[in-house]
């Protein structure tokens, strides 16, 4: 802000169009279900949905929220929490989510939630 970034309206319009297209792509990806029948496919479809969302978020932050034009110092406020956000979402998804049978913590939670259900050792292998 405070600096004139010139005519940013074409950039705004491009971001808006990208967001609309990516939203429809998210819906299409969910309805087509490309990982159907795949081993642990349910982990991949949440990852795909989040990956498209990440792309949209980067567009909004850099153009609408002016991160591209402002002092790079501001990016510190963005990169650190966004990194933590990814650790919590992708990290938990790929590791803990993978592992009713592999990971001790999740296995315990899983067994409490599904009493009496046997989990084969082969399920959820990396």
């Amino acid at each position: 802000m405070s600096h004139d970034h010139g005519n940013v309206i074409p950039a705004y319009m491009k971001v808006f169009a990208t967001l609309c297209v990516m939203t429809l792509l998210t819906v299409a990806a969910a309805k087509i279900d490309p990982f159907h029948g795949m081993h642990n496919g349910y982990i991949f479809n949440i990852t795909l949905g989040l990956a498209i969302a990440v792309f949209k978020v980067i567009c909004v932050m850099y153009i609408f929220m002016h991160l591209k034009f402002d002092n790079p110092f501001l990016r510190f406020f963005v990169y650190v929490p966004v990194f933590l956000f990814f650790v919590m979402t992708f990290g938990l998804n790929l590791e803990f989510g993978h592992a009713p049978s592999n990971n001790k913590v999740t296995r315990t939670v899983y067994e409490q939630l599904h009493p009496g259900e046997h989990h084969g050792a082969g399920h959820g292998g990396h």
Binding site: M1, V27, V60, P100
Partner: protein, 199 residues
Amino acid sequence: MSAALNLSHEPVTKIAHGKLAMWAFLASELMFFTGFFGTFIVLRNTNYQAFYEASHHLAWPLALVNTFLLIGSSLTMALAIYNLERKNNGQFQTFLGLTILGGVGFLVVKYFEYSAKWHDGLFPGQENHTLFYSFYFIMTGFHALHVVAGMIPMIFMLVKSYTKKGYPYPVKVEALGLYWHFVDLMWIFIFPALYLIFP
């Protein structure tokens, strides 16, 4: 506004204090929502069948409409700030008004969604799908509260721009714009997480 705004008291960052504070606040907000997403993902992956069945009661087309409403209102907010910086008061008022309308539209759709869920007995504490709908109501509920919280200062600014013939504090509008984009960003994650990842 470039000429009017003096940032000489912020010689290092050249970022207005209000804006810097808003970014710091948004960082803490992101951590708040991260807690929801983290627990949601762990419980979703360990209870896939239950979440799968529960999610099929959600109306994703309504959420798609809401997504477009929020993306559109993000655009109009950015355009409102652009016009305020160039002292186009009329256009500023138009775009800020459209942003408020986008928020109102979002809440109206949300009202219909919530009342349908309530009518079907799909809410926390019920016999069926209580875990999924706890997440649904907490995540979308907090998000809707954020929408309301953003609209209140927007209405105030719009009214003031009519009575004072223009809004004299562009930094405030810009900080509010950051907040409004953040609300949009959170919906960008909530929409696929709750409505779409259970094909």
